[in-house]
């Protein structure tokens, strides 16, 4: 199978990368009617599968689950999840032939095998739904021409998808229709109805394309979301220990700090995050984040280039074929880092202290979010798509670090994201070696304001504020966040 994106002429590449429409709530007035009475069959019953299915059924739709024979016969967890919540469960052969919509919620790596198994069983004119476009775009999976192919991707973990639905809200969602597979022109109506069924229409829906989703998703997860958070966490911890800060304190500051800091990001963007610092600290964080952007820009660009050319997925798929040799090796190495092995100390760290004593992370986050956003936009991805895959998701990933450190983050994210994260981390650490030599405990571990009188130059402060606030990610973010104001704070610390 050939990389789908690379088969397209440049004109069409740009066309598909540029699909981006933040949809008005009036577009969802038809509710779930496009799927009413249709048979929805979900493949896989993990966290996304189960929770999306519960929502769809509670919206009045007909949902059942199909699992592999072995999962049913072995009464695996996925089988129990589905049957104990009173869903019908059957084999591919039993359920797929009657399905109007087949929803593929299995991991990326299994997509080719799963789709090859179900496609021959699907009835003429049915719909295949993905929540990620990797299989179509990077692997170039060809879907039968009579079938409609759509994507609905809730931008939150499965548990949140359910929690927000039952309280009467939803999670931000991305939808797309594959232009090669929309023979009846019903793809968009069905994708919208699916969105209403899962509650996503209340929290902001972005219409995208398979191509734009994949190219931006890969970029975001490799760089700011997972890659830089991992690099920044490890470097910060090591620096504090090197400078004699108590290891338990350092471990706790790093584990929970990124969550507390990015909660401000979620509520009010980079502006709100930077505003949590004192004026002196803000100016300092601004300066070092500018420096960090200059140092890391070539690396961000390389990642984006490799994603666009298909080089990234080619090497990763080689590793799949190789039994995940590299992935498993890098995963083991991450488990061996000092940060990972040092438990968080039994010390109380106040909410503001996470900002004051961890100015370095604020700088890392600003640099990473802005760079990822800028690089994506320069590559032809629209600002709204770039926002979702950079700023929007950062707090969600930070939350996984707060739960159980990097190991947990890498367990929760997809293998694809994890693979890209390690690639970035390995290249980024040496790049930052000189920069880190200059970093002292005022930036990480101790209160930056200590021993300073707090005075700043008015004009400098105004300029810094202006630079932060006028960045495009802030302007687009302000608009998009309005649609999701009701999102709940996730708190661990």
């Amino acid at each position: 199978m050939a990389n789908y994106f690379n088969t397209l002429p440049l004109r069409e590449k740009l066309n598909q990368l540029g699909v981006c429409d933040f949809m008005d709530s009036a577009e969802f007035l038809d509710g779930v009617s496009a799927l009413k009475g249709k048979k929805l069959v979900i493949v896989g019953c993990g966290a996304q599968g189960l929770n999306q299915g519960l929502n769809l059924r509670d919206s009045g739709l007909d949902v059942s689950y199909t699992l592999r024979k072995e999962a049913i016969e072995g009464k695996r967890d996925s089988w129990k999840n589905a049957t104990e919540n009173n869903f019908t469960v059957g084999t591919y052969e039993e359920l797929i032939p009657n399905a109007d919509v087949v929803i593929n919620l299995t991991p990326d790596k299994q997509h080719t095998a799963v789709v090859n198994a179900i496609m021959p069983l699907m009835k003429e004119g049915a719909t295949l739904l993905y929540s990620h476009g990797f299989n179509i775009v990077e692997e170039g999976m060809q879907i039968r021409k009579d079938l409609t192919v759509i994507m609905v991707a809730p931008k939150c973990p499965g548990s949140e998808v359910r929690a927000e639905y039952v309280r009467g809200f939803g999670v931000p969602t991305l939808i797309a229709v594959h232009p090669e597979n929309d023979p009846q022109g019903k793809g968009l109506a069905q994708a919208k109805a699916y969105c209403v069924g899962t509650g996503g229409h209340r929290a902001g829906v972005l219409r995208s394309s398979f191509v734009a989703e994949v190219k931006s998703d890969l970029m975001g997860e490799q760089t700011i979301l997972c890659g830089l958070l991992q690099t920044g966490s490890i470097l910060s911890f090591d620096k504090m220990v090197e400078k004699g800060i108590d290891a338990g304190y350092a471990s706790k500051l790093v584990q929970y700090g990124v969550e507390v800091i990015t909660e401000a990001l979620k509520q009010g963007g980079i502006t709100a995050m930077m505003d949590r610092l004192s004026n002196v600290a803000k100016i300092k964080a601004f300066e070092i984040s500018e420096e960090l952007k200059d140092i890391m820009r070539p690396l961000f660009q390389k990642h984006q280039d490799d994603i666009m050319s298909g080089e990234f997925s080619r090497t990763m798929m080689e590793d799949w074929a190789n039994g995940d040799k590299n992935l498993l090796k890098w995963r083991a190495e991450t488990g061996e880092t000092a940060f990972e092995k040092t438990p968080a100390g039994d010390v109380k760290i106040g909410e503001q202290e996470y900002f004051d004593n961890y100015t370095l992370m604020v700088a890392f986050v600003r640099a990473g979010v802005e760079l990822a956003f800028e690089t994506m936009v320069q590559a032809g991805i629209k600002p709204e798509s770039a926002y979702y895959e950079s700023l929007h998701e950062t707090p969600l990933i930070a939350n996984t670090i707060a739960r159980k450190k990097l190991f947990e983050m890498n367990r929760v994210i997809s293998d694809t994201a994890e693979y890209g994260c390690y690639l970035f981390d390995q290249a980024c650490k040496p790049l930052l070696a000189d920069f880190m030599k200059k970093v002292d405990t005022d930036l990480v571990g101790k209160n930056f304001n200590e021993g300073k009188d707090g005075a700043v130059d008015n004009r400098q402060l105004i300029e810094v504020n202006e630079a932060i606030r006028s960045h495009q990610v802030e302007q687009i973010g302000a608009t998009l966040r309005k649609a999701m104001t009701a999102m709940k704070a996730i708190k661990t610390a």
Binding site: G60, N86, V166, R167, N399, A486
Partner: protein, 487 residues
């Protein structure tokens, strides 16, 4: 002479710029146990938390522990509210979560929680067994924390306290959510630990206290005053006139509100409801009773569209078979519901006004703009409940009793056909309870259908005419009542 066990002088404590405790002076002698009563909002909880060192205060609080006594030299405060986290340390849960079957364990089991607690406090597990038995909690050892109802969480808190036996044990609202039998057993257990040397402070207006509690006090004008007995308020309350929009009789599209035919609910091996049959006709007023853990909440969750297993049962709601294409929002629009669990899971970021307004849409938190008529109705109802001055405050910052009033207002705001009140008055004082029950009577006189859950027969609205009793998931009694039986 011995120093008093607790010695407080010049205690001052404010709550949001308002002085609550003023120059409070108090001595509690060795061997004494107290009940502290009085109206809600007088500062009882604040005082208790100050004694336990949980809130900042000005002045002096001395606890003179007895080095001779073997019991831990510790003050334990048992909150009237409970907290738990999932295995990943996150305390974000949602109301319906405990009805969903999920293989991966989200929270610790009761047993694991007790093992952890015992380890932390150096206690032996064999000593907790009799307490679990006495409170009827032993069967919950394998249950996850998320599966527990509010009454069961209360029991878990009490089990820990009675196991630890600290020299000073302060329990805020010890009886909240407990059924009658558990209350009696709790008093026996409290007397036992008192005999072993635990001194008690119970914050409660309840009449049936353990025998070891012989001293009483109330907070008046920021000072703790010893009284001969806790006064049960006898003042007659007159109901204000209810807002006009609540006087309209519901328009029923069918007289069959609820019909359950041999309903069964189970989680793995554990069966929670067994062959339940129940029919509710429009306008009927039901009392639903049963011990803690008898299946009441699960039964109500079926009616409110909150239970995933309703789809496999023969259940009819408002004339339609469940699972025939309706959404849970179609169901909820007929219903106004409140329960202790619903309160616990409610959105802490909503203001009082938003919380009440969200009742129009059955959402937890407000996600849309209210049209003018609806928004006026919210204002009217807030005024009716005396909550106007709190309308822009965050719900979660109000005292629990007030929070409960707000959610009660939310429950009736849309003048629903079916009112489900699951222990609605938990956390309210007697006056507020009486007041609310009179309101329920008035609403019901206009034809509203009611399901009321309450353990205390003295605290029920008078309109109730039918009773269903659950025992271990089975219907034991369905009967019509004349009001005499209840009084």
């Amino acid at each position: 002479m011995d120093k008093p066990f607790v010695y407080i002088h010049d205690l001052n404590l404010g709550y949001r710029n308002k002085a609550v405790l003023k120059d409070l002076y108090w001595e509690m002698n060795i061997g004494e146990s107290y009940a502290i009563g009085g109206e809600s909002g007088t500062g009882k909880t604040a005082l208790a938390k100050a004694i336990a060192g949980l809130v900042p205060y000005q002045g002096n609080i001395e606890i003179n522990f007895d080095g001779q006594r073997k019991l831990p030299q510790e003050v334990l405060y048992v909150d009237s509210w409970y907290q738990f986290k999932n295995l990943e340390g996150v305390a974000n849960f949602y109301y319906q979560q405990r009805y969903t079957s999920l293989q991966a364990n989200d929270t610790l089991t009761v047993h694991a929680e007790l093992v952890n607690y015992g380890k932390e406090k150096g206690l032996h597990l064999d000593q907790v067994e009799p307490i679990l038995e006495a409170l009827g909690f032993a069967t919950f050892a394998g249950s996850q924390l998320i599966e527990l109802s509010s009454g069961e969480h209360k029991k878990l808190q009490l089990v820990k306290a009675l196991w630890l036996k600290p020299q000073l044990l302060i329990i805020d609202q010890p009886y909240t959510g407990l059924d009658t039998a558990s209350r009696k057993n709790l008093n026996v257990l409290l007397d036992q630990v008192a005999k072993e040397g635990v001194q008690l402070i119970l914050i409660s207006n309840d009449a049936e206290l353990p025998g070891s509690v012989q001293s009483f006090a109330e907070i008046t004008d920021g000072k703790l005053v010893k009284v001969a007995a806790l006064a049960s308020s006898t003042t007659e309350i007159r109901l204000r006139e209810i807002p006009d929009f609540l006087k309209e009789s519901p328009l029923y599209s069918t007289s069959d509100m609820v019909k359950m035919v041999n309903v069964n609910i189970s989680y793995g091996e554990k069966q929670v409801l067994k062959n339940v049959n129940w029919e509710i006709k429009a306008g009927e007023k039901w009392l639903l009773q049963g011990h803690n853990g008898s299946g009441k909440s699960t039964l109500l969750s079926l009616i409110n569209g909150d239970h995933p297993q309703s789809y496999a049962n023969e259940l009819y709601l408002f004339g339609n078979r469940r699972g025939s294409g309706e959404s849970i929002w179609d169901i909820k629009q007929h219903i106004g519901l409140i329960s202790p669990e619903f309160h616990w899971y409610f959105d802490p970021t909503a203001t009082v006004w938003q919380s009440v307004a969200s009742g129009f849409y059955d959402t937890v938190g407000l996600f849309q703009h209210l049209p003018y008529t609806k928004s006026t109705q919210v204002d009217e109802l807030l005024a009716y409940f005396g909550l106007t001055e709190n309308k822009n405050e965050l719900l979660s910052t109000l005292p629990l009793g007030k929070q409960r009033l707000v959610l009660l207002a939310r429950t009736i705001i849309k003048n629903p056909e079916l009112l489900i009140l699951d222990e609605p008055c938990q956390g309210l004082d007697q006056q507020q309870t009486k007041y609310f029950n009179q309101l329920v009577d008035e609403l019901c006189s206009n034809g509203m259908t009611l399901i009321y859950v309450g353990h205390f027969e003295s605290q029920l609205p008078t309109c109730i005419e039918k009773r269903i009793l659950l025992e271990k998931g089975e219907v034991k009694v369905v009967e019509s009542l004349n009001t005499e039986i209840l009084s």
